[in-house]
């Protein structure tokens, strides 16, 4: 390797010993005719014509989904008083790998809440429906719904704002009720780790 020029960093060179040259095998007389292969393919096609059909005639027919974990359009949940449940902590925006969530937060008008989202936009076209936002949410305010017929005529229409996301909740809350979020409590879970020995001279 002495004569090789300096490789710039970040460039991966393929070494000669890593290259394997494979020759194509020659075709036999039957293979060169191609007919046996064509007939074989046709046989598969005909066999499927008499089997049970699995195609769904969307949009006349719709698939039944597993409501609990289907990852469709997002919704913003409402709390028991009908207010947006989101506390505007930006965890979803932080977790989102597609950077499709944009929140503008402000001081909440309610006594029992510090922060709330003034603006909450999800770019449904940019979203990859991975469900990370749902996992990150500490108050279960954002959830993915079984709604999947997502259509629009413009890109702007596909950026769902807070109102639109709350409407998705109103539409889907019967089909998929909101999980009651466990209040992030202080009580131990029972299997508390052992505390360090009480030491220290004070």
């Amino acid at each position: 390797m002495g004569g090789r020029a300096k490789v710039p960093s970040g460039v991966v060179m393929i070494r000669d010993e890593d290259i394997i040259v494979v020759d194509e095998p020659d075709l036999s007389a039957a293979e060169r005719l191609y007919l046996p292969q064509i007939l074989g393919g046709m046989r598969t096609t005909f066999r499927h014509m008499f089997k049970k059909k699995i195609t769904v005639q969307y949009p006349e027919q719709k698939r039944t989904l597993r409501v609990e974990n289907y990852r469709g359009v997002h919704r913003l949940n409402r709390d028991e008083k009908g207010r947006v449940a989101c506390v505007s902590c930006f965890m979803c925006e932080t977790a989102c790998p597609a950077h499709c969530i944009h929140i503008v937060s402000g001081e909440s008008p309610w006594e029992d809440r510090e922060k709330y989202p003034i603006q909450f936009d999800i770019d449904e076209l940019r979203c990859i429906y991975c469900g990370m936002c749902e996992e990150a949410c500490p108050v279960d305010a954002i959830e993915l719904t079984p709604e999947y017929h997502l259509v629009g005529l413009t890109r702007e229409e596909m950026i769902f704002d807070k109102e639109k996301l709350l409407q998705v909740f109103d539409r889907t809350c019967e089909e998929k009720p909101r999980k009651n979020p466990r209040i992030t409590g202080y009580a131990g879970t029972g299997d508390r780790p052992a505390l360090p020995p009480s030491g220290g001279g004070h």
Binding site: S88, E114, Y186, G188, P193, G199, G200
Partner: protein
Amino acid sequence: MPKITVDNKEIECRDGIPVIQAALEAGWDVPHYCYHPGLSIVASCRLCLMEMQMPHPKTGEMGWAPKLFPSCQTPVKDGMIVRFDSEKVQANQASCMEYFLIDHPLDCPVCDQAGECHLQDYSYKFGHAESRMVESKIVNPKKDIGPRTLLYQDRCVTCSRCVRFADEVSGTGELCLVNRGSRTEIDVFPGVPLDNALQGNVVDICPVGCLLDKDFLFKQRVWFLKRADSICAGCSTGCAIRVDQNEEVVHRLKPRYNPGVNDWWMCDEGRFGFKYVHDKKRIVKPMLRRGKEHETPVWDALSDIVEYRFEQHVAKHGAASVGVVLSPMMSCEEAWLLAKFIRKIAPESTVATGFVPVEGDDQSFPVGCKPDEAKFTIRKEKCPNRLGVEMISRQAGGEICDFDTFVKKAGEGAFSAMWIVGGYPNPWVPKPLATAAAKAELLVVQDIFENALTAEAELVLPACAWVERDGCFVNHAGVIQPFERAVVPQEGGRRDGQYLFEMAGYTGLFTADRVREMMAEDLSQFAEIAELVPVPVHQH
């Protein structure tokens, strides 16, 4: 220099500093809340306790002392042996952390401090995940303690840093600890809100999310912010600051440790004085007058246009008729490039120092102290680089001229071609200058906002705010301090340095270091800082 042994490792440290400072400087992460190098020591948080070897009172033999010692209150002594890694020390840290969290609301998701909070960091590193507290927590609503600051009492660890700051550095003493024991609270005296020129620092030194800035409240989560090390352009003190931006929007400024200049602090005027950066009324495009109309030349054609106009003018009226005003808001690099460009075309031109805004008098802190005993000073000169620009204009040669002389001479009609640089956040144009400029045949104005000069100018060049530029400022004491660019110029704009670089006849990308290297040939002071980049120092 004394040598001490920390966790079986010998370190060398400065004389007379507390053990905690020596350990922090040597790279140990010693948890602490109440200790701050800029404030007096109270040793109240008990987090930094250490084990220390002491001579036995009877035998004189060295052995571990039975009790733990606060490392913030123990000065270093040659030959001292201490440790932070023992079971006893760690048990104390864990117990302390449990105590601090007894009444803590655990509202990190909605707390602005989350991400740079030392309750979070220390809980993770020194505490444990579960609390044994079964009683209901004391709920203490937030208090509005001043026009710019909120106090969330239930997040407080009563380290009393803010109280000591108001007593010792700002000298205004608005804050106090009220009640005792577990009911201790931070509060202001009735009818005396926290409202002094340095109050923003209490938010910085609060190790938890108890004191929060109303201006930054709920704006951003701190992990989205990207930092740039800059120098405050508010006055000639030249505080080292950190500009925090996200998606090219500046959200806040924080001070950086800069010994001898601003130490750990900055004033509110500088801290909140960046709002004009995102003003919609700013000039963003160059404007060239053609008759009564303005047109926007493409940036690449600009240097040819400017050069041609000045050459034509010099050929007609002579080089002495050209006058340039270098603004003290410019960086040294930009001023040097402009002076170089003008002196090349018109060797007998006048390069003057620009308008120096002055407001009131120097303010020294603690309030009422003598100027030489001040811990912090807000200067009356509201521009960052008067000395630097004076240095450049002296070096450029020609007649040395301050702003008033320039205005006077201009009024007498000495300059028929002028290049005036502004860049001030506030209106600044003095009437005599505007009248004189209106008579000039060729007027180039480089400014941030429209004013009487830009209305008369043949060519208006957009100036950038200092957070959009890089370069260096020379502060009131002659310290040359480089600063980084934090955000890109507004859409359509270009950095002053970039277009001046092209006009001065260079090609490629303007970087401050590159220009400083060239400057160093004329001005040797700049050679020393050519390599200097701001070093982050441990601080919280």
